[in-house]
């Protein structure tokens, strides 16, 4: 493999950013190669330029961005010099790309078969029956059940994983020499992700396709990559075989990045504390019933019979895949939505059924931090005003509230003088700290973190997780931590509840759930976690 001519050679590539950006180049002097039958992972945090490289290779770069130097050789042909017509010929026949979001990457008004057929009609001279045979063939190869039925299905009739398989089928139908995968599993659940990764690995091995795999997830890297290129701010930091990068990284940045990946083995925690119970739910349930004049009402049980309890100073994690009902439970507890069944006890008060006016005094006790740091703060008011809004609602004077806000800014390790700035002047991680400060300003008893670190880069995620844990200890808070990320759950939770289809299927101390899962679903969830056999951050002494 090593002495084969590379399918892709990127030499000294620089891509300029439009003026007024925070740096001159999106990509600066990056060189690497992809050989046939090899999977090369481009890893980096957001803004590192990894997607820009992919789009430059495909010739799909936005007009504002211009490659200013270097060349990209696809089997020796410089694609930077190719005109639009030539690029169109090359796409799909020699290089293909799959994207992150399988729903939006497919045309919703065409059947999946027609969409693959379009590729064949554009690039080959096959007749209708030959094309159909070829499509059924590729659908079988990407292991879709009942290829005939899938051929005639519309994208919305398929699951996310199936749609991504359609994308892969479309990309590989003409046997390209290079496949570019831009975060293809980021939008998928962990079990689906494992299947797709396995599929990509199998397919490229069979065909000898070179794969350029873009990801931010070191678990995925450990799972799939032959070689790894680490990017930071558009520059190549380090490149080498996976083994070497993960266990003997040379550059401090790579070491920092890899050691920020949370371990999947839980820390020694989860001793039941003899403290008062802050929150207890009893057969909590939420049923959505769509009301309609003309149709039968649609009933969705988002949460069923959820029993949880959290004591002071404890972190309870709810883990599960998308649609498992974990966020529904959190929102019911915060009474952002009204539960339809069961009870929620906050201390000794039952809050699931009390009226909004009676609820108001209890609002203070439960605070929530949301996933998306860009939408959790009102963009039109200063962060200071956002933080003091709550305390002022409960009668604190502006001056006192501001003093509290300044203290909290220090608690979350931000400059207290930044209170009069607006949210857009902060980075994602900083905004999430501000959201935590806003929650803490209410002096809550229970802090709900609803996927609070999921949108953050791994190094920032580590800092925010550390902050949350420190605050929990210092203020003796009860924390309800909702996440889909098993690694994060392993590091921060004392107890873990695993949810699937609205029900808690396994509930216990983190060490016990992670160490010896009992339920089949939990087992499959852990088995699917990418890079589970790899202990990140334990470097061999170089």
């Amino acid at each position: 493999m090593s002495d084969q001519k590379p399918v892709l050679e990127v030499k000294n590539l620089s891509v300029a950013l439009p003026q007024g950006g925070d740096r001159l180049h999106a990509v600066e002097k990056v060189s690497f190669t992809v050989k046939p039958g090899e999977i090369v992972c481009l890893v980096g945090e957001s803004g590192s330029g990894k997607s820009v490289i992919a789009f430059t290779i495909m010739g799909l770069l936005a007009k504002a961005l211009k490659p200013v130097s270097g060349e990209i050789l696809l089997q020796g042909e410089n694609v930077l010099a190719a005109n639009e017509a030539r690029l169109r010929e090359l796409r799909c026949t020699r290089m293909s790309m799959i994207f992150q979001e399988p729903m939006t990457a497919l045309n919703p008004v065409m059947t999946c078969g027609e969409q693959i057929d379009e590729v064949l009609r554009t690039h080959t001279k096959l007749d209708t029956t030959q094309r159909k045979t070829k499509i059924i063939g590729i659908l079988t190869r990407v292991k879709l059940p009942e290829p005939e039925r899938i051929y005639a299905s519309f994208p919305h009739q398929l699951s996310g994983g199936q749609r991504q398989r359609i994308m892969i089928a479309m990309a590989l139908v003409l046997d390209p020499v290079l496949l570019i995968a831009d975060e293809p599993t980021t939008a998928l659940d962990v079990t689906t992700q494992a299947e797709i990764l396995k599929l990509v690995a199998e397919l490229q091995e069979g065909q000898g396709t070179g794969v350029l795999f873009i990801t931010h997830d070191f678990g995925v890297v450990a799972e799939i990559a032959h070689r790894v290129a680490v990017l930071r701010w558009g520059e190549l930091v380090e490149m080498g075989p996976t083994e070497q990068i993960l266990s003997r990284p040379q550059q401090p940045y790579t070491r920092m990045l890899i050691s920020s990946v949370p371990s999947i083995h839980p820390a020694h925690r989860g001793v039941r504390l003899e403290k008062e119970t802050v929150l207890r739910t009893e057969k909590l349930g939420k049923t959505y019933a769509g009301k309609s004049f003309f149709q039968k009402a649609r009933v969705v049980k988002a949460a069923v019979d959820v029993d949880l309890d959290i004591r002071r100073g404890e972190t309870l994690g709810i883990v599960g895949e998308s649609g498992s009902g974990k966020s529904t439970v959190a929102r019911c507890i915060a009474r952002l939505i009204d539960p339809t069944e069961g009870k929620v006890f906050l201390g000794k008060t039952e809050i699931a059924t009390i009226s909004p006016s009676k609820l108001r005094p209890h609002r203070r006790k439960v605070q929530i931090v949301f996933q998306d740091p860009y939408r959790s703060l009102n963009p039109r008011i200063t962060v200071g005003d956002s933080i003091i809004e709550g305390p002022m609602n409960f009668g604190l004077k502006r001056g006192e509230a501001l003093a509290r806000a300044r203290k909290l800014m220090e608690t979350v390790q931000l400059d207290p003088n930044a209170l009069d700035r607006y949210p857009h002047q902060f980075s994602g991680g900083q905004r999430q700290r501000i959201c935590i400060a806003r929650a803490l300003a209410m002096e809550p008893e229970l802090l709900i973190a609803d996927e609070a670190v999921s949108a953050l880069d791994v190094s920032v995620q580590k800092q925010v997780l550390g902050l949350l844990d420190e605050i929990r200890q210092r203020l003796n808070l009860a924390v309800l931590f909702i996440t889909h990320d098993l690694r994060v759950a392993a590091q921060i939770c004392d107890f873990v509840a695993v949810m699937s289809q609205g029900r808690v299927v396994e509930y216990g101390a983190a060490e016990q759930v992670f160490g010896a899962p009992k339920h089949d679903y939990t087992k499959s969830l852990f088995a699917a976690a990418p890079g589970r056999d790899w202990e990140f951050g334990k470097f061999a002494t170089a």
Binding site: D22, P252, Y253, R255, M256, S259, A334, L336, R360, R363, R364, V366, Q367, I368, F370, Q371, D372, R375, S376, L377, N378, R380, I381, S386, E389, G390, N393, F394, R421, Y422, H424, Q425, F426, S427, G429, Q430, C435, R438, A441, M442, S459, V460, Q463
Partner: protein
């Protein structure tokens, strides 16, 4: 290693701190469409305000001796006290000998008043009803069915019906035009409220115990301003046309008051021989509506950049 983390955080802070957002109005006044539309509109406002000083005579003055004169004719007006003065009728005179130039200039007042007041009133009513409808779920169904009902009747017909119930006059006309415009604004506001109320920062505000009214005014209302300004310009343009149509049909502003629609209506009978009676108010009407629409388009492009890329 910690040094690197700190460095990363600091550089992010510096990068984001330097990118200050410009206020929207500053962006808006740089858009050429806004400048063009705004300039014409400003001239119109100046004409309306300064009408008495722009070489006009009393627009309601009837002079049987000066009926149906072509543009550019010089007319001698005799005043009640016996004196007389000469006046050049740039746009000719109508069948009652009134000076069309003066009438068109004074007519600008009516059109702008109708346009602006209809826009303001329709936005005000629409905003309140739309916020209530979007936020108070159980009222939503009731309010929206009433709005659907209003929208099912053609706007002009509804206005005609309303004018025929009340006495014809400026205020009646304004209200008659506002009523069919309100449902459009309500739908717009409601749709924005429905999206914004799901935003995490609104839920965050709910969870810190913010009272409903504060929530609406502080967190939800500001999101509606930009789209409403855009909607307001289109409402104003539509209102000016509707007023002209009502006046043209003879059910709008009383005929003695000069308005573009009235002038055109009166010019209709002798249209083939004296087209200027319809031509000049028509030009003003078209220009005013065009200016407002162009400005509205420009505002939409700056306030809602996503939209401009699609179009």
């Amino acid at each position: 290693m910690t040094a690197i983390i700190e460095e990363a955080v600091d550089s992010a802070a510096i990068a984001s701190a330097s990118s200050k957002r410009k206020p929207l109005w500053q962006l808006a006044i740089r858009n050429p469409a806004v400048i063009f539309g705004g300039a014409i509109l400003l001239i119109m406002v100046a004409i309306a305000v300064l009408a008495p000083f722009l070489g006009t005579v009393d627009p309601t003055r009837i002079d049987p001796a000066a009926r149906n004169k072509k543009p550019g004719t010089e007319i001698t007006y005799r005043l009640d006290n016996g004196t007389s003065f000469k006046h050049e009728a740039y746009m000719g005179t109508d069948t009652l000998g009134r000076d069309v130039y003066s009438r068109v200039l004074y007519g600008t007042r009516v059109s702008l008043i109708v346009g602006i007041s209809v826009a303001v009133l329709a936005l005000a009513f629409g905003l309140v009803i739309g916020m209530v409808s979007g936020y108070i779920r159980w009222l939503d169904g009731i309010i929206m069915r009433i709005m659907d009902g209003l929208m099912a009747i053609p706007g002009i017909l509804l206005a005609i019906a309303l004018v025929s119930i009340w006495r014809a006059g400026l205020i009646t006309v304004i209200f008659a035009i506002v009523v069919p415009e309100v449902p459009r604004v309500v739908r717009l506001v409601r749709s924005i409220v429905l999206t914004v109320r799901e935003e995490p920062y609104v839920e965050g505000a709910i969870s810190v115990g913010t009272p409903t009214w504060t929530l609406m005014f502080r967190h939800i209302l500001p999101n509606t301003i930009a789209p409403l300004i855009v909607q307001g310009t289109f409402t104003a343009a539509a209102a000016i046309i509707t007023e002209a149509i009502l006046s043209f049909l003879g059910i709008g502003i009383p005929p003695e008051t000069p308005s573009w629609g009235n002038i055109m209506s009166e010019g209709r009978t002798l249209f083939r021989i004296f087209p200027h009676n319809i031509l000049y108010p028509g030009i003003f009407l078209a220009l005013a509506v065009l200016a407002i629409n162009v400005m509205g388009d420009g505002l939409r492009d700056t306030l809602d950049p996503k939209m401009s890329k699609k179009v």
